[in-house]
Symmetry: C2
Subunit: 149 residues, 2 copies
């Protein structure tokens, strides 16, 4: 049974702090874990599995309120499996949409970086032919265009 980890060991392994682990337990995200003499927490392997799953939910931005709802269902036994599956399916839909949104924005950022790169080229050649005031581009949006009233 090396599956009896102290709170600090769990913190180290999960990247959570001891504060956060206690907080999660307090708010019902983690069911009361076993205790050693003196009331110190001892985490079993099954606790670790659950915490890792919680971290999956957190990574995918599930709010704590929903995690609490999920944890409550889980505590209520196998009869809630369909509900839990539905929750995860709905969440997964959101997650996939968010990943796609981030992917698109990342692409836009990449394009902006490229734009800056070429802008740096022109600015560099500007300063060769015209050293002095390098400030009449107001905004590096799409290539050029700068007029507005």
């Amino acid at each position: 049974m090396e599956s009896q980890l102290s709170i600090d060991e769990v913190a180290k392994r999960t990247g959570l702090t001891a504060y956060t682990l206690r907080y999660y337990e307090r708010i019902g995200l983690i069911a009361p874990v076993g205790r050693a003499a003196g009331g110190q927490r001892r985490y079993a392997a099954s606790d670790m599995t659950w915490i890792e799953f919680l971290l999956r939910l957190r990574t995918t931005h599930m709010p704590i309120g929903k995690m609490q709802a999920f944890a409550k269902l889980r505590g209520a036994g196998d009869s809630t499996v369909p509900d839990r599956r539905q929750m995860l399916e709905e969440h997964l839909t959101d997650v996939l949409a968010e990943i796609e949104a981030m992917r698109q924005s990342a692409e836009a950022l990449q394009a902006k970086i490229e734009h800056y790169r070429s802008l740096e080229q022109s600015l560099a050649s500007d300063s060769i032919s015209d050293e002095g005031h390098a400030n009449e581009h107001r905004e590096p949006l799409r290539t050029r265009t700068r007029q507005t009233a």
Copy 2:
């Protein structure tokens, strides 16, 4: 010039609220926009482009503090282009890592959903052959650990 939008029109188009638009201006994320008679804000096309870019940064979870730093560089002219590019490159690295983390977690969630699906199958057949108590299955259920007195 239909590029003179009121704050409500901008709110409608960007999905931000008027409150948030003013807040962004107050904290320097958006440079002071043009004003109509009576001091009402009028957003030009270039403002819209910038706001859309800000939304890209927000979508990719750049904290407001960094956006402020970026906006400040932008306001300081073309000489800051290399700094801005570097900021975006570093941010993009983070973003790609986050996307990958989310992708992996999404996969784990998908697996969990499949697991639940098959679990629902076995629970259903249980209740055919053994109608009554459908609650002695293995899996992410805590075994023992209750309290310590």
